[in-house]
Symmetry: C2
Subunit: 136 residues, 2 copies
DNA sequence: ACAAGAAATTAGAATAATTATAATATTAAA
DNA sequence: TTTAATATTATAATTATTCTAATTTCTTGT
Protein backbone atom coordinates (compact mmCIF):
# COMPACT_ATOMS: atom_id res chain seq x y z
CA UNK A 1 0.00 0.00 0.00
CA UNK A 2 1.64 3.15 -1.23
CA UNK A 3 0.46 6.44 0.24
CA UNK A 4 -0.64 9.44 -1.73
CA UNK A 5 2.44 11.26 -0.44
CA UNK A 6 4.75 8.60 -1.86
CA UNK A 7 3.15 8.88 -5.28
CA UNK A 8 3.64 12.62 -5.16
CA UNK A 9 7.33 12.16 -4.46
CA UNK A 10 7.75 9.52 -7.12
CA UNK A 11 6.08 11.74 -9.68
CA UNK A 12 8.23 14.72 -8.72
CA UNK A 13 11.38 12.62 -8.89
CA UNK A 14 10.44 11.71 -12.44
CA UNK A 15 9.82 15.39 -13.25
CA UNK A 16 6.15 14.73 -13.69
CA UNK A 17 3.92 17.22 -11.93
CA UNK A 18 1.87 15.50 -9.25
CA UNK A 19 -1.60 16.52 -10.27
CA UNK A 20 -4.76 15.22 -8.67
CA UNK A 21 -5.50 13.27 -11.85
CA UNK A 22 -2.13 11.56 -11.93
CA UNK A 23 -2.28 10.64 -8.28
CA UNK A 24 -5.65 9.00 -8.83
CA UNK A 25 -4.28 7.11 -11.78
CA UNK A 26 -1.29 5.98 -9.70
CA UNK A 27 -3.59 4.68 -7.00
CA UNK A 28 -5.48 2.57 -9.50
CA UNK A 29 -2.40 1.33 -11.32
CA UNK A 30 0.16 0.78 -8.62
CA UNK A 31 -1.69 0.01 -5.39
CA UNK A 32 -1.79 -3.69 -6.20
CA UNK A 33 0.02 -6.89 -5.31
CA UNK A 34 -0.17 -8.53 -8.68
CA UNK A 35 0.76 -7.03 -12.00
CA UNK A 36 -2.10 -5.46 -13.82
CA UNK A 37 -3.00 -5.79 -17.49
CA UNK A 38 -5.34 -3.18 -18.84
CA UNK A 39 -6.61 -1.15 -21.75
CA UNK A 40 -7.08 2.62 -21.61
CA UNK A 41 -10.79 2.03 -21.25
CA UNK A 42 -10.41 -0.40 -18.37
CA UNK A 43 -8.33 2.18 -16.59
CA UNK A 44 -10.71 5.03 -17.36
CA UNK A 45 -13.61 3.11 -15.84
CA UNK A 46 -11.64 1.96 -12.82
CA UNK A 47 -10.66 5.51 -11.94
CA UNK A 48 -14.28 6.54 -11.64
CA UNK A 49 -15.13 3.39 -9.70
CA UNK A 50 -12.20 3.36 -7.30
CA UNK A 51 -11.62 7.04 -6.62
CA UNK A 52 -15.04 8.50 -7.28
CA UNK A 53 -13.38 11.25 -9.30
CA UNK A 54 -13.62 11.64 -13.00
CA UNK A 55 -10.58 12.11 -15.15
CA UNK A 56 -11.02 12.82 -18.83
CA UNK A 57 -10.22 10.07 -21.26
CA UNK A 58 -7.63 12.28 -22.96
CA UNK A 59 -5.82 12.67 -19.66
CA UNK A 60 -5.78 8.92 -19.19
CA UNK A 61 -4.11 8.64 -22.58
CA UNK A 62 -1.66 11.41 -21.73
CA UNK A 63 -0.73 9.90 -18.43
CA UNK A 64 -0.37 6.37 -19.67
CA UNK A 65 1.92 7.64 -22.40
CA UNK A 66 3.92 9.68 -19.93
CA UNK A 67 4.32 6.62 -17.70
CA UNK A 68 5.29 4.50 -20.68
CA UNK A 69 8.02 6.93 -21.61
CA UNK A 70 9.32 6.94 -18.05
CA UNK A 71 9.31 3.16 -18.03
CA UNK A 72 6.62 2.70 -15.39
CA UNK A 73 4.40 0.84 -17.81
CA UNK A 74 4.95 -1.48 -20.72
CA UNK A 75 2.91 -1.70 -23.88
CA UNK A 76 2.04 -5.24 -24.90
CA UNK A 77 1.88 -6.15 -28.56
CA UNK A 78 -1.34 -7.99 -29.29
CA UNK A 79 -3.47 -7.60 -32.33
CA UNK A 80 -6.62 -6.78 -30.54
CA UNK A 81 -7.96 -3.44 -31.61
CA UNK A 82 -7.47 -2.11 -28.13
CA UNK A 83 -3.94 -1.53 -26.94
CA UNK A 84 -2.94 -3.38 -23.78
CA UNK A 85 -0.58 -2.20 -21.07
CA UNK A 86 1.17 -3.92 -18.20
CA UNK A 87 2.39 -2.66 -14.85
CA UNK A 88 5.06 -5.37 -14.93
CA UNK A 89 7.94 -3.60 -16.64
CA UNK A 90 10.48 -6.37 -16.21
CA UNK A 91 11.55 -8.33 -19.25
CA UNK A 92 8.89 -10.97 -19.77
CA UNK A 93 6.42 -12.56 -22.15
CA UNK A 94 2.69 -13.19 -22.47
CA UNK A 95 -0.09 -15.59 -23.04
CA UNK A 96 -3.14 -14.10 -24.64
CA UNK A 97 -6.30 -16.07 -24.11
CA UNK A 98 -8.11 -15.47 -27.36
CA UNK A 99 -11.46 -16.68 -26.06
CA UNK A 100 -11.54 -14.67 -22.88
CA UNK A 101 -9.44 -11.79 -24.24
CA UNK A 102 -7.22 -11.99 -21.21
CA UNK A 103 -3.50 -11.57 -20.76
CA UNK A 104 -1.28 -13.69 -18.54
CA UNK A 105 2.38 -13.01 -17.78
CA UNK A 106 5.03 -15.57 -18.57
CA UNK A 107 8.16 -15.03 -16.52
CA UNK A 108 11.34 -14.75 -18.49
CA UNK A 109 12.72 -17.87 -16.84
CA UNK A 110 9.72 -19.86 -18.06
CA UNK A 111 10.81 -19.32 -21.64
CA UNK A 112 13.98 -20.91 -22.94
CA UNK A 113 16.61 -18.64 -24.49
CA UNK A 114 15.52 -17.16 -27.80
CA UNK A 115 18.15 -17.21 -30.49
CA UNK A 116 17.74 -14.90 -33.43
CA UNK A 117 20.06 -16.02 -36.22
CA UNK A 118 19.46 -13.00 -38.36
CA UNK A 119 20.45 -9.40 -38.03
CA UNK A 120 19.79 -6.17 -39.84
CA UNK A 121 22.85 -4.02 -40.57
CA UNK A 122 22.87 -0.74 -38.69
CA UNK A 123 20.10 -1.82 -36.35
CA UNK A 124 20.32 -3.15 -32.87
CA UNK A 125 17.86 -5.24 -30.93
CA UNK A 126 15.74 -3.25 -28.54
CA UNK A 127 13.52 -6.02 -27.24
CA UNK A 128 12.49 -9.60 -27.89
CA UNK A 129 8.98 -10.53 -26.91
CA UNK A 130 7.05 -13.74 -27.24
CA UNK A 131 3.30 -13.82 -27.52
CA UNK A 132 1.65 -17.20 -27.03
CA UNK A 133 -1.96 -17.29 -28.09
CA UNK A 134 -4.20 -19.70 -26.24
CA UNK A 135 -7.51 -21.18 -27.22
CA UNK A 136 -9.94 -23.63 -25.60
CA UNK B 1 1.48 -13.27 -62.18
CA UNK B 2 -1.94 -14.57 -61.35
CA UNK B 3 -4.76 -13.79 -63.75
CA UNK B 4 -8.07 -12.26 -62.85
CA UNK B 5 -9.70 -15.57 -63.78
CA UNK B 6 -7.56 -17.47 -61.30
CA UNK B 7 -8.49 -15.10 -58.49
CA UNK B 8 -12.15 -15.60 -59.35
CA UNK B 9 -11.73 -19.35 -59.05
CA UNK B 10 -9.79 -19.13 -55.83
CA UNK B 11 -12.43 -16.90 -54.29
CA UNK B 12 -15.24 -19.23 -55.39
CA UNK B 13 -13.40 -22.23 -54.02
CA UNK B 14 -13.25 -20.49 -50.67
CA UNK B 15 -16.97 -19.69 -50.88
CA UNK B 16 -16.23 -16.02 -51.17
CA UNK B 17 -18.14 -14.28 -53.92
CA UNK B 18 -15.78 -12.96 -56.55
CA UNK B 19 -16.79 -9.33 -56.62
CA UNK B 20 -14.99 -6.63 -58.57
CA UNK B 21 -13.76 -5.15 -55.28
CA UNK B 22 -12.30 -8.40 -54.04
CA UNK B 23 -10.58 -9.12 -57.32
CA UNK B 24 -8.94 -5.71 -57.20
CA UNK B 25 -7.82 -6.35 -53.65
CA UNK B 26 -6.41 -9.74 -54.66
CA UNK B 27 -4.41 -8.15 -57.45
CA UNK B 28 -2.84 -5.71 -55.04
CA UNK B 29 -2.18 -8.26 -52.32
CA UNK B 30 -1.19 -11.39 -54.16
CA UNK B 31 0.37 -10.35 -57.45
CA UNK B 32 3.81 -10.05 -55.86
CA UNK B 33 7.03 -12.00 -55.53
CA UNK B 34 7.87 -10.99 -52.02
CA UNK B 35 5.63 -11.11 -49.02
CA UNK B 36 3.83 -7.90 -48.31
CA UNK B 37 3.38 -6.16 -44.98
CA UNK B 38 0.65 -3.58 -44.84
CA UNK B 39 -1.91 -1.65 -42.88
CA UNK B 40 -5.51 -1.24 -44.00
CA UNK B 41 -4.67 2.27 -45.07
CA UNK B 42 -1.68 1.22 -47.13
CA UNK B 43 -3.90 -1.23 -48.92
CA UNK B 44 -6.71 1.26 -49.40
CA UNK B 45 -4.36 3.72 -51.08
CA UNK B 46 -2.66 1.08 -53.20
CA UNK B 47 -5.97 -0.08 -54.61
CA UNK B 48 -6.72 3.35 -55.96
CA UNK B 49 -3.18 3.71 -57.28
CA UNK B 50 -2.78 0.30 -58.87
CA UNK B 51 -6.23 -0.45 -60.22
CA UNK B 52 -7.61 3.04 -60.73
CA UNK B 53 -10.82 1.90 -59.08
CA UNK B 54 -12.02 3.03 -55.72
CA UNK B 55 -13.10 0.56 -53.09
CA UNK B 56 -14.60 1.86 -49.88
CA UNK B 57 -12.51 1.67 -46.76
CA UNK B 58 -15.15 -0.47 -45.06
CA UNK B 59 -14.90 -2.99 -47.85
CA UNK B 60 -11.16 -3.13 -47.44
CA UNK B 61 -11.73 -3.95 -43.77
CA UNK B 62 -14.37 -6.53 -44.62
CA UNK B 63 -12.22 -8.22 -47.21
CA UNK B 64 -9.08 -8.26 -45.12
CA UNK B 65 -11.04 -9.82 -42.30
CA UNK B 66 -12.58 -12.36 -44.64
CA UNK B 67 -9.12 -13.28 -45.95
CA UNK B 68 -7.77 -13.51 -42.42
CA UNK B 69 -10.49 -15.95 -41.46
CA UNK B 70 -9.77 -18.05 -44.53
CA UNK B 71 -6.08 -18.03 -43.67
CA UNK B 72 -4.90 -16.04 -46.70
CA UNK B 73 -3.54 -13.29 -44.49
CA UNK B 74 -1.95 -13.12 -41.08
CA UNK B 75 -2.35 -10.38 -38.51
CA UNK B 76 0.90 -9.28 -36.92
CA UNK B 77 0.95 -8.22 -33.29
CA UNK B 78 2.71 -4.88 -32.94
CA UNK B 79 1.61 -2.13 -30.67
CA UNK B 80 1.44 0.53 -33.23
CA UNK B 81 -2.00 2.04 -33.33
CA UNK B 82 -2.44 0.73 -36.83
CA UNK B 83 -2.88 -2.99 -37.27
CA UNK B 84 -0.42 -4.71 -39.58
CA UNK B 85 -1.05 -7.65 -41.87
CA UNK B 86 1.17 -10.05 -43.77
CA UNK B 87 0.65 -12.04 -46.94
CA UNK B 88 3.12 -14.59 -45.62
CA UNK B 89 0.87 -17.00 -43.75
CA UNK B 90 3.54 -19.54 -42.92
CA UNK B 91 4.68 -19.86 -39.34
CA UNK B 92 7.27 -17.13 -38.84
CA UNK B 93 8.39 -14.16 -36.78
CA UNK B 94 9.11 -10.46 -37.20
CA UNK B 95 11.47 -7.62 -36.74
CA UNK B 96 9.80 -4.27 -36.27
CA UNK B 97 12.02 -1.32 -37.03
CA UNK B 98 10.78 1.21 -34.53
CA UNK B 99 12.45 4.17 -36.23
CA UNK B 100 11.24 3.47 -39.75
CA UNK B 101 8.00 1.75 -38.66
CA UNK B 102 8.77 -1.13 -40.97
CA UNK B 103 8.26 -4.86 -40.62
CA UNK B 104 10.72 -7.53 -41.70
CA UNK B 105 10.04 -11.27 -41.73
CA UNK B 106 12.20 -13.65 -39.77
CA UNK B 107 11.99 -17.16 -41.11
CA UNK B 108 11.08 -19.81 -38.59
CA UNK B 109 14.43 -21.54 -39.08
CA UNK B 110 16.24 -18.32 -38.15
CA UNK B 111 14.81 -18.53 -34.65
CA UNK B 112 15.87 -21.32 -32.31
CA UNK B 113 13.16 -23.50 -30.77
CA UNK B 114 11.04 -21.64 -28.25
CA UNK B 115 10.32 -23.54 -25.10
CA UNK B 116 7.41 -22.46 -22.96
CA UNK B 117 7.72 -24.03 -19.51
CA UNK B 118 4.33 -22.95 -18.34
CA UNK B 119 0.84 -24.00 -19.30
CA UNK B 120 -2.67 -22.94 -18.51
CA UNK B 121 -5.10 -25.74 -17.63
CA UNK B 122 -7.85 -26.21 -20.16
CA UNK B 123 -6.12 -24.08 -22.76
CA UNK B 124 -4.02 -25.13 -25.69
CA UNK B 125 -1.40 -23.20 -27.58
CA UNK B 126 -2.66 -21.72 -30.79
CA UNK B 127 0.45 -19.87 -31.88
CA UNK B 128 3.83 -18.69 -30.66
CA UNK B 129 5.15 -15.52 -32.18
CA UNK B 130 8.29 -13.56 -31.55
CA UNK B 131 8.51 -9.84 -32.15
CA UNK B 132 11.99 -8.34 -32.17
CA UNK B 133 12.02 -4.59 -31.99
CA UNK B 134 14.92 -2.85 -33.68
CA UNK B 135 16.33 0.60 -33.16
CA UNK B 136 19.22 2.56 -34.65
C1' DA C 1 5.72 34.62 1.31
C1' DC C 2 3.92 36.60 -3.17
C1' DA C 3 3.46 37.96 -8.03
C1' DA C 4 4.72 37.34 -12.87
C1' DG C 5 6.40 34.64 -16.45
C1' DA C 6 7.53 30.04 -18.19
C1' DA C 7 6.43 25.46 -18.76
C1' DA C 8 3.55 21.41 -18.22
C1' DT C 9 -0.97 19.50 -17.95
C1' DT C 10 -5.88 18.98 -18.65
C1' DA C 11 -9.92 18.06 -21.22
C1' DG C 12 -13.02 19.51 -24.97
C1' DA C 13 -12.97 19.34 -29.76
C1' DA C 14 -11.09 17.30 -33.88
C1' DT C 15 -9.43 13.45 -36.30
C1' DA C 16 -8.54 8.63 -37.30
C1' DA C 17 -9.68 3.75 -36.91
C1' DT C 18 -13.11 0.35 -36.90
C1' DT C 19 -17.76 -1.63 -36.97
C1' DA C 20 -22.90 -1.95 -37.73
C1' DT C 21 -26.55 -1.89 -40.86
C1' DA C 22 -29.51 -0.47 -44.76
C1' DA C 23 -29.16 -0.82 -49.63
C1' DT C 24 -27.35 -3.49 -53.41
C1' DA C 25 -25.40 -7.38 -55.78
C1' DT C 26 -24.67 -12.29 -56.29
C1' DT C 27 -26.06 -16.90 -56.20
C1' DA C 28 -29.35 -20.82 -55.72
C1' DA C 29 -33.82 -22.79 -56.39
C1' DA C 30 -37.86 -23.48 -58.95
C1' DT D 1 -35.37 -17.02 -66.59
C1' DT D 2 -37.75 -14.99 -62.22
C1' DT D 3 -37.88 -15.11 -57.37
C1' DA D 4 -36.12 -15.90 -52.92
C1' DA D 5 -32.18 -16.44 -50.07
C1' DT D 6 -27.78 -15.03 -48.88
C1' DA D 7 -23.61 -12.38 -49.16
C1' DT D 8 -21.42 -8.04 -49.96
C1' DT D 9 -20.82 -3.14 -50.26
C1' DA D 10 -20.42 1.32 -48.53
C1' DT D 11 -22.68 4.96 -45.86
C1' DA D 12 -23.41 6.18 -41.44
C1' DA D 13 -22.44 5.41 -36.66
C1' DT D 14 -19.33 4.31 -33.21
C1' DT D 15 -15.06 3.84 -30.86
C1' DA D 16 -10.12 4.94 -30.36
C1' DT D 17 -6.66 8.33 -30.36
C1' DT D 18 -4.56 12.89 -30.87
C1' DC D 19 -4.44 18.03 -31.08
C1' DT D 20 -4.63 22.38 -28.98
C1' DA D 21 -6.68 26.26 -26.34
C1' DA D 22 -7.47 27.05 -21.60
C1' DT D 23 -5.89 26.11 -17.14
C1' DT D 24 -2.80 24.70 -13.58
C1' DT D 25 1.65 24.08 -11.61
C1' DC D 26 6.19 25.46 -11.06
C1' DT D 27 10.19 28.76 -11.08
C1' DT D 28 12.33 32.93 -10.41
C1' DG D 29 12.86 37.42 -8.62
C1' DT D 30 11.60 40.35 -5.16
Amino acid sequence: MTSKQEFIEKLRNSSLRPTKQRINICEVLFNRDKTFHFTINDLFNLIKDKTGEKVSLATVYNTVHAFLKKGYLKEIPINSNQTYFDTNVTDHHHFFDVNEEKLIDIKNEDVGPIEIQKSIPGKKIKSVEVLVKLED
